[in-house]
Subunit: 169 residues, 2 copies
């Protein structure tokens, strides 16, 4: 755990190494936010990181959403997830699915990707297997605009939990 | 083709939509560079984009390198490349390889990835098939530091050619 005050003296390289993994495959978010030091608390750092995303362009937001792996998808089955994602999917029970459940996830992942053009993102640490499957059913009814908003909100929750594993007040 | 002077009045969204694809799956580079308008020429815009990459942290540079597909790799064979990459690989002759050549590319891709931890990046528009295979042999001898530098230089060449397809002086 790194005390939040120690980040003040970090170079961009050090800061991105410490905070970058909070957003899946998107170290540019920490890189951009580095210029906004100092951060008085983990909460304030989290808000600054989220603002970087909200101030980015639509294409950058979509690239962030698309950097997320499918739940119980190809990368998960092949053992190619980031350490953070693997832990989160396991805690939601997604590493212990029956073949029928894996098929249900894949059908849902495909339907969602085909409708919206980006993968289904949900904070797996706050939702177990059944809640996630219900989430698919509900969110497939939404508009693309609603789902971009929801995906970013879920990403901000994921980021907050990851951040609190790494940085302490 | 967009005249470079027209970019001056573009919002971040518009700018990233126009310039973002110049860097593979990395619209944050255009997003960050947008703040540095105006650009007097395509050359100056290209330099500003490259500076954004050079001023980024090592992790951000590695994420950019890792956003590139293997040459004649899985994504290419599955038809999952970006339009820009598909055109570049085709122009280098990589869409018309024999099964033996595909196997050679895959062996090289794997060896390179295992040694350096990121994919082999070369400007395919400036190198035909044989030059690329020779490039593998030479670059596999280098240090990781050298290859990060070379990969970024190749990415800057790719970016310049893509930029000149999109933006005019």
């Amino acid at each position: 755990m790194i005390p939040v005050a120690r980040l003040d003296s970090f170079s961009r390289d050090e800061f991105v190494r410490a905070v970058g993994p909070v957003f899946e495959h998107s170290p540019w978010i920490a890189g951009t936010t580095w210029a906004r030091r100092p951060f008085a608390s983990v909460d304030q750092l989290h808000s600054a990181l989220c603002e970087t995303v909200l101030n980015a362009s639509r294409e950058e937001q979509l690239a962030l959403i698309r950097a997320h792996p499918d739940l119980a998808g190809r990368a998960a089955l092949a053992g190619e997830l980031t350490a953070a994602s693997a832990g989160e999917q396991a805690r939601a029970g997604l590493d212990r699915l029956s073949p029928e459940e894996i098929a249900r996830f894949q059908t849902n992942n495909t339907a969602y990707l085909e409708k919206f053009g980006f993968p289904f993102v949900i904070c797996a640490r706050l939702n177990k297997k059944d809640a996630i499957l219900n989430g698919f059913a509900a969110r497939l009814q939404h508009s693309r605009e609603q789902e971009i908003k929801t995906a970013l909100e879920e990403i901000f929750k994921i980021a907050e939990l990851r951040l609190r594993d790494l940085i302490a007040d």
